[in-house]
């Protein structure tokens, strides 16, 4: 079995991994719907969104490896890191749930990512700014599509409304983590690499309130729980995501096709 690589504690690398890992794991989760979505159009939509996200992850992880300067490429970073070295927010690693859960999580994540990419377009890091200039357009399209579904389900039948409300209750405890700053945010803010993620909080809540309002749902009250995936301490689900995602590369080291 292929041994794991470790990553340094450099704040810029950590900041980039938080972005790259979040889009990678969300893409992995969304791709689980390929061949399983309730209708063909959504199968295609989810697979397309997963492709965009994995493409964004490739660019960001390649860049994170270059900034780290230890010769790690996108594949090594994606397939050879252990759970504790993954820096995605916990929200995106949760099991895909039912379709209501998936479209609501996609709405929450793409709203966040759209706001983040928009700010990263002005990054002092030209490569990250370039990646963001493309990704923001994709995130915006993902948000529009997912939000349409949240409105359709929330304002739909009794069953679709019940499921959407249940998804909101399940997902809400993982929101606080998105906007909880630490030293990595401070360093990124100071160097101009990117915003403190807390700076996105008000805009995110305003857009989510509008979408949920249209769906006949309300923003839940804040909860005291704080997840910690972006610091490497994940939920029990993360190991299973990586086991599936990394299996081939671990079993057949360096395998390519």
């Amino acid at each position: 079995m292929q041994a794991s690589i470790d990553i340094g504690q450099d704040a810029a690398v950590q900041y980039l991994l938080r972005i790259g890992d979040t889009v990678l794991i969300l893409g992995q989760r969304i791709a689980e719907w390929s061949g399983h979505a309730p209708i063909l159009e959504e199968d295609i939509a989810l697979s397309n969104m997963a492709l965009d996200l994995v493409g964004q992850a490739r660019a960001v992880l390649t860049h994170a490896g270059a900034v780290e300067g230890r010769g790690h490429d996108e594949d090594q970073l994606a397939f050879l890191r252990d759970e504790r070295d993954y820096r995605n927010v916990t929200l995106v690693e949760l099991p895909r749930g039912d379709f209501a859960f998936t479209v609501l999580r996609n709405t929450m994540a793409s709203t966040f990512l759209k706001l983040l990419w928009a700010r990263l377009g002005g990054s002092s890091d030209a490569e990250l700014a370039g990646i963001a200039g493309k990704a923001v357009k994709e995130a915006r399209y993902h948000q529009q599509h997912a939000a349409d579904w949240v409105v359709r389900l929330g304002d739909g039948t009794e069953a679709s409304r019940r499921r959407t409300a249940a998804a909101l209750e399940s997902l809400w405890p993982y929101v606080s983590e998105l906007f909880a700053d630490d030293a990595v945010d401070e360093a990124a803010h100071a160097s101009g690499l990117g915003p403190r993620w807390s700076a996105l909080k008000d805009a995110w809540h305003a857009e989510m309130a509008e979408i949920l309002g249209e769906a006949g749902l309300a923003l839940p009250a804040p909860v005291p729980f704080m997840s910690t995936g972006k610091r490497g301490v994940h939920s029990e689900h993360m190991g299973f995501v990586l086991a599936e995602m990394q299996h081939l590369q671990r079993a057949y080291p360096g395998g390519v096709w």
Binding site: E41, A45, L51, G55, K137
Partner: protein, 173 residues
Amino acid sequence: MNAAVAMSARAERAWQVLGTVLDPEVPALSVCELGIVRDVIDHGDRLEVVLTPTYSGCPATEVIEQSVLAAIEAEGLGPAHATLRRAPAWTTDWITEEGRRKLNDYGIAPPGPVPADAAAPIRIFGRRAQSDVACPRCGSLHTERLSAFGATACKAMYRCLSCREPFEHFKPI
């Protein structure tokens, strides 16, 4: 294309060759008409082709790079290498007029101009989006969107309500 610098005969020939390299996913138009070839630079000992990808996850990106280089080498203009330019990001506004006409002839409704308010918050519209996409077969504007995503990242599925034909639309981004 860098108009400020006089182009070498070799670069000029390379542009002509690239005008015959078709997009693998939409083989109706060339990579130049698609607007992803941003520059051809003659370094003397080699040619550099600057490409801008369409979508982050477009699986055709690597195939396009290979076919671009292969076409240049086949014409004896090599050696050549490709570089990636991410900024400014590719937009469908870079598809040429000729490219748009070819798309339409191929049965894909070409993209309209990218809306200036692309940074504005999303619009929460109901179940059915109002369409302003013309049917590539009969030209009717009486069309509706069936699916926000299509067979490739760059397209959406539509249906004409006049001639009843389904068709693809190249999304403006």
